[in-house]
Subunit: 400 residues, 2 copies
C-alpha cells in the first residue's frame, strides 16, 4: 500500500535512500532489530524517534521540527515488515523515490488523528491484540490507542533500543570512524580560527562549514565554543562573546555520517603561553581522561570507569571543580545513548560498545579561570579498548 | 530551592540568560502565559518541549539531544511561579548563573526517575490534586504520574500553547524581523555560491556559516539545498550532489534570534537563461504566492488562503505537480506551529499572527524538470497583511 504517493509511478532507477550506508549495513541492522524484538518478547514495535526510524528503514527522516509533535510512526513486526505513517506532504514524493518502504500512510495533522491510522496499521499486521513496544509515545496518543484497541498490550521498548544502539557491528564502527574523520576536519578548522578578538560564533561557523563540506549530514548537538568565563560555567553553545588573550577555549562538536554520530571536545589556548594554573588544570583533565580510557575493558562497570577519572580531580587542587555528573556516555545512532559513564551506573561495558569519555574542570566561582574539557571515544574490545578519535588534534600550547 | 547547584554562590553579576530578548519581551511573554493558563482553566502546566520552556523562562535550554528522552520539565502555576527539573549536570552551573530560575531540581536519568521529582514539585506548589496541563508528556511518565498522584487531573495543553505561540506581540514581531535579517544574509550568501559544479552541501555550508556570523542562535530545521532532480522530489536536505548547468535550485533555510524563528525559501537558476518551461513554473508559483498573500486578512480561513494559492496551480499546466499539502504554516517561537495553511483547516487567521506561505511545484515524474518553491512570511494586520521577508532576495534570472 502506498498512501498519498500512490500516483508517483516513475522511479528514478531503484529507490536508494540518501546518505545510505549500503546493503551490508542494512542487513546488519535488520538482523539486530529482529533479534532484539524476539529477545524482548515483543510481537512488534511502534517507533516515533526519527533516528530510530532511520535505523530501522534507512529512510532519511527529517525529524528536526522540534515544536511539532509526531512526524512519523513506524510499525515493525517480528517478520521484519514495516509500515510507516507520516504527516508531511513532501514525503509523498520522497518515500516512493528514496526509501525502501512499500507500505506508507499519510496522516493529516494532530495527535488525535494519528491514533486511528496506527490502529489500522496494527490491525493489518495482526498486532492489534498483541504485545507491542513503543519508544517515545506521547501520552495523549497513548490514551487514544488504548481506547481504540483495548486488547493491545503496549509496553516500553526503551531497553530494547538501548541494547540495539549500544552493540556495534564492525561495519557500524566503520561508519563511526568516518564520522570522526569529518569531525577531525571540523575541529582543525575551528582551532585554526581561535585567536583573540574572534567571536565564539565565528569559530562555530568555521567548524560547521568545514564539517558540512566534508560530508556532515547534520549537527545533532549545538556546536559549543566556550571561552573564558563561558568555559567556567560550561555554557553549551557558541555566543557572541569576543575571545580574549590567553584564554582557555573549549570546542565541543558532533558530526553524523550514514546516521552514525561522532562527538568530541578539545580545549585550546587563544594565544601565548599557558599560565601555570591553566597548565595544571589541563594536565589534571588529561590524566583523568587517560585513567578512564585505561579502565575501559569488558566487565568494567560504568561507575568504575567514571571513578577512575574522578580520582584524578579529587587528588588535585581542582576537586571542587571536577565534573559533577557523568564522565561519559555511549555514542550511537542518533546522538547519545545509555549507558552513561557515571556514578551509580553499575552496568558493565561490553565488547562492541563505543563510549565517549569527557572529563572536565569548570572553575565556576572564579570564572576568569575558565575551564577544561577533553573528550575522546573508545571502542570496547575483547581485552580493553581502542581510541576512535585519535585524529582530532589536541592543543599544542597546552600539551607541552 | 536550588538543586545540584546549591553551592554555586558567586554570581557573575546579575543572572542574565544568553540570547536574552530583554525585560520588556519577558514581561509580554509572562503576561500572555498567565492569561492563557487562566482561559484554559488550568491551575498549572507541565512543559517538556525545549522551546516552550525557553519561552516561559528565557533559559536557553539545550534541547538538541534527540535520541534521549526528557531533559527538562518545567512546572508553571497561575501565580507565574516556576520550578524546573533538569537532568544535565552542566546545568548545575548554567542555571544559577544564566537563568532567572530560583527553584531548580536535578533528576538522575531515565523516565522512571522523573515521576517522583515531578510529583514533589506539584505537591510543593499545591497542585498535586489540581488540574494541570502538559505538552509533550511521554506515555511511560504519564502512567507513573497517575499512579503516584491519583488525584492529579492531567490534560493536554496543546491548544493553549498553540494560542500563545500564534498571537504575536509587536515586540515579538520585532524579534522575528531580526531573525529575517539574519536569514536574508544567509540566503544572499547561498545564492552567491550556487554555480554549476558546486555541491549542494557547499551551498548549505555558506548559508549556515553566514547566518552564524550574523548571530543565528541555532538552525531549527535542516538547511535544504535541492538542485535538479532533488528539487523535483522536494528532498529536504543538502546532499553531495554536484549542481549542473541551468538547473533550478531550491534554498530553504531557517534562523533563530532570541528564540524567534524565521523560515524562507527561494528558487534560483544555477547558470544561463531560464528555459520557457522553467520560467513558466516559476511564474506559476510566484502567482500562487501573490494570490495567497492577497488572501490573508483577519477572518480569512486557512483553507481559503490555501485555496487561493492552489487555484494558480490548477489553472496552469502544472496542476498535477502543485503542492499536495499545506501551502503554509504559522511561524513562531521554536519552528513551526499550528494552524497550517492547508485544505480543510477552517480556523481563521487573526491580527498579530505570522504566517509562512510556501507554494511549490515539483515535477516528480520528470525529475530533470526540477521544482520551484518560494516562501514568504506575512504578519496579519487589522486590514490585511505585511510581508516580513522582503529583504530576502529573489532570483534575478527567474524574476525577469
Amino acid at each position: 500500500m502506498r498512501g498519498g504517493g500512490a500516483d508517483v509511478t516513475t522511479r528514478i532507477g531503484a529507490p536508494r535512500p540518501i546518505f545510505y550506508p549500503g546493503d551490508a549495513v542494512r542487513r546488519v541492522k535488520g538482523d539486530k532489530l529482529l533479534r532484539a524484538l524476539e529477545s524482548a518478547g515483543l510481537d512488534g514495535v511502534l517507533v516515533f524517534k526519527p533516528e530510530a526510524i532511520r535505523y530501522a528503514t534507512d529512510f532519511y527522516v527529517k525529524g528536526f521540527r522540534r515544536f511539532l509533535d509526531i512526524e512519523y510512526c513506524l510499525l515493525m513486526d517480528r517478520r521484519g515488515r514495516h509500515a510507516l505513517a507520516y504527516s508531511s506532504g513532501s514525503d509523498d514524493y520522497r518515500l516512493p523515490l528514496t526509501s525502501f518502504l512499500e507500505d506508507t500512510r499519510r496522516v493529516s495533522g494532530r495527535v488525535d488523528e494519528w491514533a486511528p491510522v496506527i490502529v489500522d496499521m496494527l490491525t493489518d499486521y495482526g498486532l492489534a491484540a498483541k504485545r507491542v513496544g513503543y519508544d517515545l509515545l506521547p501520552a495523549a496518543l497513548d490514551v487514544r490507542l488504548r481506547e481504540l484497541a483495548p486488547h493491545l498490550e503496549l509496553r516500553s521498548a526503551e531497553a530494547m533500543w538501548e541494547q540495539v544502539s549500544a552493540d556495534k557491528h564492525p561495519l557500524e564502527v566503520d561508519c563511526i570512524r568516518r564520522a570522526y574523520d569529518v569531525l577531525a576536519i571540523g575541529i582543525r578548522a575551528g582551532i585554526a580560527t581561535v585567536v583573540p578578538k574572534t567571536r565564539e560564533i565565528d569559530v562555530a561557523a568555521e567548524i560547521e562549514a568545514a564539517m558540512r563540506r566534508a560530508g556532515n549530514e547534520m549537527t545533532p548537538a549545538i556546536t559549543m565554543v566556550a571561552s573564558g568565563p563561558n568555559a567556567a560555567i560550561f555554557e553549551r553553545v557558541a555566543t557572541e562573546r569576543v575571545i580574549g588573550e590567553r584564554e582557555l577555549v573549549i570546542l565541543d562538536a558532533t558530526a553524523v555520517v550514514n546516521g552514525y554520530t561522532a562527538d568530541t571536545a578539545r580545549t585550546v589556548l587563544s594565544s601565548g603561553e599557558a599560565t601555570a594554573q591553566q597548565q595544571d588544570m589541563y594536565r589534571t583533565v588529561k590524566a583523568a581522561l587517560r585513567a578512564a580510557i585505561e579502565a575501559v575493558r569488558p566487565g568494567a562497570t560504568c561507575a568504575e570507569i567514571d571513578g577512575a577519572a574522578r580520582r584524578s580531580y579529587n587528588a588535585s587542587a581542582w576537586s571542587k571543580y571536577g565534573s559533577r555528573w557523568a564522565t561519559g556516555h555511549q555514542i550511537g545512532f542518533g546522538l547519545h545513548g545509555a549507558p552513561l559513564v557515571g556514578p551509580g551506573v553499575h552496568e558493565a561495558v561490553k565488547p562492541n560498545m563505543v563510549m565517549c569519555l569527557e572529563p572536565r574542570i569548570h572553575v565556576f566561582d572564579r570564572p576568569e579561570s575558565g575551564g577544561v574539557q577533553v573528550e575522546d571515544a573508545v571502542l570496547v574490545t575483547d581485552t580493553g579498548c581502542v581510541v576512535l578519535s585519535s585524529d582530532v588534534p589536541y592543543s599544542e600550547a597546552l600539551e607541552r
